[in-house]
């Protein structure tokens, strides 16, 4: 999916909120769930859709890092270029989005 095409893409508020959360640094499923307050049954399927549409991409954490912290490895999500453009469009459509999950605040946590 190209960036031009994505600039036309309209996301639901839920999908936009998840995109905003990923951009704000909440990069794995449970942390997105906690941040947005959405249930797991909404967050994970929405992330699958976003990944399918190439707005986010996933990557497994290195096993050594997980072993060091004595926990299973996490699957991290990251915005793609297309996802960034779509998020900008969504922010214009949903002006309250940034207030719900402010990036500066989140990154400072």
């Amino acid at each position: 999916m190209t960036a031009d095409k994505n600039s036309e893409t309209k996301l639901s508020h839920t999908a936009a909120m998840i995109l905003q959360a990923v951009d704000a640094g909440f990069v794995y499923g449970f942390s997105i769930m906690e941040m947005t307050g959405l249930p797991s049954g909404t967050v994970y399927p929405a992330m699958r859709r976003l990944e399918r549409d190439e707005l986010i991409r996933s990557q497994w954490e290195k096993q050594s890092i997980a072993d060091a912290e004595q926990r299973p490895p996490r699957k991290y999500y990251k915005l793609t270029a297309a996802g960034r453009v779509t998020l900008e469009t969504s922010r214009r459509r949903y002006p309250l989005l940034e207030r719900l999950i402010p990036i500066e605040e989140a990154r400072s946590v």
Binding site: L11, Y28, F30, P45, R48, R52, P73
Partner: protein
């Protein structure tokens, strides 16, 4: 080391995840499991961080795991839709309309299956298939003063032995009160009781077309003994509705006989109160006994018998002619199908009394719905009605014959009442469902919102607004019908509303 309760809860959570993973396509399952396993660890460390067992924490974790099913279902649907790419799935094209029809079809299938399995319905079906009882005639001797008028066995033999043009089958029976022993010989409490016994020709049941239920296998039964067919009421009263009653030996008067099965009383109201039928050949008939004759009309007899009664004169050598009267027994009981259609007619007549038959006002809008859409809308309504009628038929049969034996007027009454209510309330549902379906996509409108205040009914509009999730329409339903807003109205949304609605795929 985890406390035992927490350990058990963790096992249940893992079981939930494992169950959900079964829905995930095989190729993605390992990665899916790895991700959810890691996320579960995260959830547990977040919710149950204190190290002590807490029900609220476990509930939250279980709720988290249940979400895995939605995720797995999404992946399963995605995989399924891959094979259908290029085609628009029916659920997307018609929204929940397709699901509604599928649900009704499933209900129809279930009620049909139950109806096929019920012995009462099966017996009724075989009864009507047989077709014998439509041409049955009860023969009476006009000169007899008894009520009901009997016929002597001599008259019967003389008439039967003559060449017949209008009849192709005869059976004679007489009803006597006899002492019957039915308890086993070894039973110390062996006792007798008085039964109304119908001594009938051996072809009696085949002539009537009455199926005999719970027939024995024939093993261990003395073929030389005459057969006894129990009436359904006696079978229930004296034998506790024992399905293995066939083959038992009873003593009827002075004769031993074998129980061959159970039959209902039949719909004709034949004269005489009979508890059991003793079948014996005409050769063993007691001479000069009085009884009743049932005859079956041949094809030419049916064409001649236009009225409910027919005069018959029997000529026999060496005796004066007998004047007989044939009374038709065929129309004694209506068919299930006739009863059902009568109930449907009543239900449709009663419908306006309980529900509005209007489908809502489309004319106030400037928006015109295309003809194919209109056709779909009306087709959907028609399909629902077409499905409702057989559902009502089979469910009413299930209710009527699930509790009451076949060939009973009670069953017919119950069927009629059940069919009436199912049709009436079913049609009410069909119409109210149709009123709440978007005229464009046939989805049910949702998310009701109260607008206005009841106290301002005459100053401003108040009622409920519902929205089509496809973004096509808004439905306004007045809370109090007024002269300027008497029924619900549709408002069609133009493209300027699109930003509020995500597409069906991108939610």
């Amino acid at each position: 080391m985890k406390p035992p309760n927490e350990f058990a809860a963790h096992i249940i959570d893992l079981g939930l995840l494992r169950g959900a993973s079964m829905l995930v396509p095989r190729g993605q399952r390992a990665e899916w499991w790895r991700e959810w396993y890691g996320e579960l660890w995260q959830a547990r460390s977040e919710y149950a961080y204190s190290g002590e067992f807490s029900w609220s924490a476990e509930r939250a974790i279980a709720g988290f795991c249940l979400g895995a099913f939605q995720d797995a279902l999404y992946l399963w649907r995605q995989e399924r839709n891959l094979g259908r790419r290029g085609k628009t799935p029916l659920t997307l094209k018609f929204g929940s309309a397709w699901q509604c029809l599928l649900l009704m079809a499933a209900l129809l299938g279930a009620s049909f299956t139950v109806a096929r399995l019920l012995p009462g319905v099966r017996a009724e079906r075989s009864l009507w298939r047989n077709g014998v009882r439509s041409g049955l005639v009860l023969i009476e001797d006009v000169n007899n003063e008894d009520s009901p008028r009997t016929i002597s066995s001599g008259q019967y033999r003389a008439w039967k032995d003559r060449k017949q043009e209008f009849f192709d089958g005869f059976a004679f029976y007489r009803v006597t009160r006899e002492q019957v022993n039915w308890r086993p010989v070894e039973d110390g409490q062996r006792e007798s009781a008085g039964w109304g016994v119908g001594r009938a020709s051996s072809n009696f049941f085949s002539l009537l077309g009455l199926p005999v239920q719970f027939k024995g296998t024939g093993a261990g039964v003395d073929a030389a003994m005459p057969s006894v067919i129990l009436s359904e009421s006696l079978w229930k009263r004296e034998f506790g509705a024992d399905p293995h009653v066939a083959g038992r030996v009873v003593r009827v008067g002075l004769r031993w006989a074998t129980i061959a099965g159970v039959a209902s009383e039949g719909p004709w109201g034949l004269p005489g109160k009979v508890d059991a039928w003793l079948l014996e050949p005409d050769s063993q008939m007691v001479p000069a006994s009085a009884g009743y004759v049932v005859a079956h009309l041949s094809a030419s007899g049916r064409s001649r018998m236009g009225a409910a009664q027919i005069q018959i004169t029997s000529y026999a050598p060496h005796r004066s002619p007998d004047d007989l009267l044939g009374i038709s027994l065929g129309k004694a009981m209506p068919r299930q199908w006739d009863v059902f259609w009568f109930a449907v007619l009543l239900a449709f007549l009663a419908l306006p009394a309980i529900s509005s038959v209007s489908l809502g006002d489309l004319s106030v809008s400037v928006h015109k719905i295309s003809w194919p859409r209109r056709l779909c809308r009306w087709g959907f309504l028609g399909a629902k009605i077409v499905l409702l009628l057989p559902i009502a038929y089979f469910v009413s049969l299930d209710l009527a014959y699930g509790f009451i034996g076949f060939n009973s007027t009670d069953a017919l009454y119950l069927q009629m009442v059940a069919a009436f209510f199912i049709c009436m309330f079913g049609m009410q549902w069909v119409l109210s469902d149709q009123r709440q379906r978007c005229p464009v996509c046939l989805r049910r409108v949702d998310h009701p919102v109260r607008v206005g205040q009841l106290s301002r009914t005459f100053l401003a509009w108040n009622g409920t607004e519902l929205m089509c999730m496809g973004g096509h329409t808004l439905l306004h339903v007045p809370s109090l019908p007024t002269s300027w807003f008497s029924s619900q109205r549709w408002m069609f949304l133009d493209s300027s509303w699109e930003f509020l609605f995500a597409g069906p795929v991108r939610e």
